[in-house]
């Protein structure tokens, strides 16, 4: 089966022009040796917004997250976090910027040799916090948030995939970052566990107003984040339409990557109503 010829993207444009962007990519390109991974990608994420990055495997989604963290440098273009260009910064200059961000890696990336408690406390210790009582209080608090307080003393090897992901979220949010990056947080999980992770992502977004970039290949998760909001009363997700009490829209947007280029950028409605054959095939 052959894919249709690449046509001009149906709606690859910058959103929220004029608003303050917490994360912004301007014409970013990156190649690994001869392979072009990203080509002229631009987007902005405003405060409290969620950007869902969709794309097939190898389309450059995870690389985008690493660029935003400053783990990789672009060959061309700018990566701005809080208005600051990351490219000219040294590794030590990047640390304060990374402190404002949290990342959940695809497999959790928990440190094998450390317990759940030590994994979550790691960031606090690295930031120079010495007060053990305060560290324990904060660690317990975030583990309670992800409903993993019971696993405090367990080692990562003893945890299931979903538990590892939840501990990874706890580790990422322990210092209350303003931006959260999720790299396929529900990949390989059963639907029930994936739903739990989605609830956590929505909870962070809706309760703590954290800006999020979510890389996923599961459209169901993307739609869940776009159409549902976290309800503290129901301890779960409620549909935006039925959430009249809150009277707010979920600020979620989509970016579809195709072969390293931003193929589509827009809202849920724009994505679902697109006539573009590639996107239709992707959404099917």
């Amino acid at each position: 089966m052959t894919l249709p010829e690449a046509e001009p993207p149906p709606r690859a444009r910058d959103r929220s022009e004029g608003q303050t962007a917490v994360v912004e990519l301007r014409h970013v390109s990156l190649a690994f040796e001869e392979k072009q991974v990203l080509n002229d990608v631009s987007f902005r994420v405003g405060a409290g917004e969620t950007l869902v990055l969709l794309g097939v495997t190898g389309s450059g989604k995870s690389v985008l997250l690493k660029l935003i963290l400053g783990l990789l440098k672009p060959d061309a273009g700018q990566v701005l976090v809080g208005g600051q260009d990351l490219a000219p910064l040294s590794e030590s200059q990047l640390y304060p910027i990374r402190q404002r961000m949290g990342i959940v890696f695809q497999e959790g990336a928990l440190f094998d040799s450390l317990s759940v408690y030590e994994n979550v406390a790691y960031r606090l210790r690295e930031e120079g916090l010495k007060d053990e009582a305060r560290i324990e209080r904060q660690v317990r608090e975030v583990l309670r948030f992800v409903e993993m307080e019971h696993a405090l003393e367990k080692m990562p090897a003893e945890l299931s995939g979903g538990m590892r992901r939840r501990v990874s979220i706890a580790r990422a949010i322990v210092n209350e970052p303003a931006i959260m990056l999720y790299d396929s947080p529900t990949a390989g999980l059963d639907p029930v566990t994936a739903h739990t992770i989605n609830i956590l992502i929505a909870k962070l977004r809706d309760v703590q107003n954290v800006s999020s970039l979510v890389v996923t290949q599961r459209l169901a998760d993307a739609y869940a984040l776009a159409h549902f909001t976290y309800s503290a009363e129901q301890q779960g997700l409620v549909a935006v339409a039925s959430d009249g009490g809150l009277g707010r829209r979920v600020p979620t947007h989509f970016l579809v990557l195709r072969d390293g280029t931003a193929y589509f950028s827009g809202s849920t409605d724009e994505l679902t109503s697109t006539p573009d054959p590639y996107l239709r095939k992707f959404l099917a």
């Binding site: 783990l71 402190q99 990336a109 790691y122 960031r123 690295e126």
Partner: protein
Amino acid sequence: MFQVLFERFVKGKVLAVQEFTDLLINSVRHAFTRPRYLVDTLVQMDVIGFGSLAIVLLTGFFTGGVLALQTYRTLSTFGEVGLLGQVVALSMVRELGPVLTALMVAGRNSSGIASEIGSMLVSEQIDAMRALGTDPLRKLVTPRLYATLVTLPLLTILADFCGMLGGAVVSTSTAHLSSAEYWTLAYQALQFEDCFQGLTKPFFFAIIVALVGCYFGLHTTGGTEGVGRSTTRAVVVACVLILVVDFFYTKFLIATGFF
């Protein structure tokens, strides 16, 4: 086509030397600036030093023993069996102790370091570390380098002693030398130059053992299969480098008239 491949090969090797040098300079430099990971360094001393103790002692003992056995046959031809202590002591302290200890430690630890760091790399733990505000060189490489720099010379001293002990067992049991005769000659044979040579080599070898493991671990590609490849390459490269550096350092000491 051949020219392109050759050019790529040479550039790759030059880049590897540059990256290895960079790794060495940065890991040494990090010991003098904060944050320092002293607990990690102590843990690595335990893993690398104490963990290698048994194999190093056994290697030393049996190397000294077999050296005495082999030399005894030759020396007995000339009626100079009494020199066994001298031969074993000089051989162990100058060459066999440092080199064999380094080879054993490399076999055990360069591979261990490469596989541990390589596994962390492919499971994105190194990226996570950087994302959480930690410099992986400072946290992973510097403690391993300093732990090896401290423990390898100590292991070498123990291996030297065990080697002489092995030689003593063979000398007294097979060559029927008195223990006092063996130890007196062994002790008298050793000069400052021999000890200097035998105790400075481990520092060079320690750099090789620790940094070759770290280098290949940090350059692991290709998932778990890549970890296996890195582990094997780390051991092979570390062992070859130890022998090459040993030769050139010995040659340097001779050329400078040190001994």
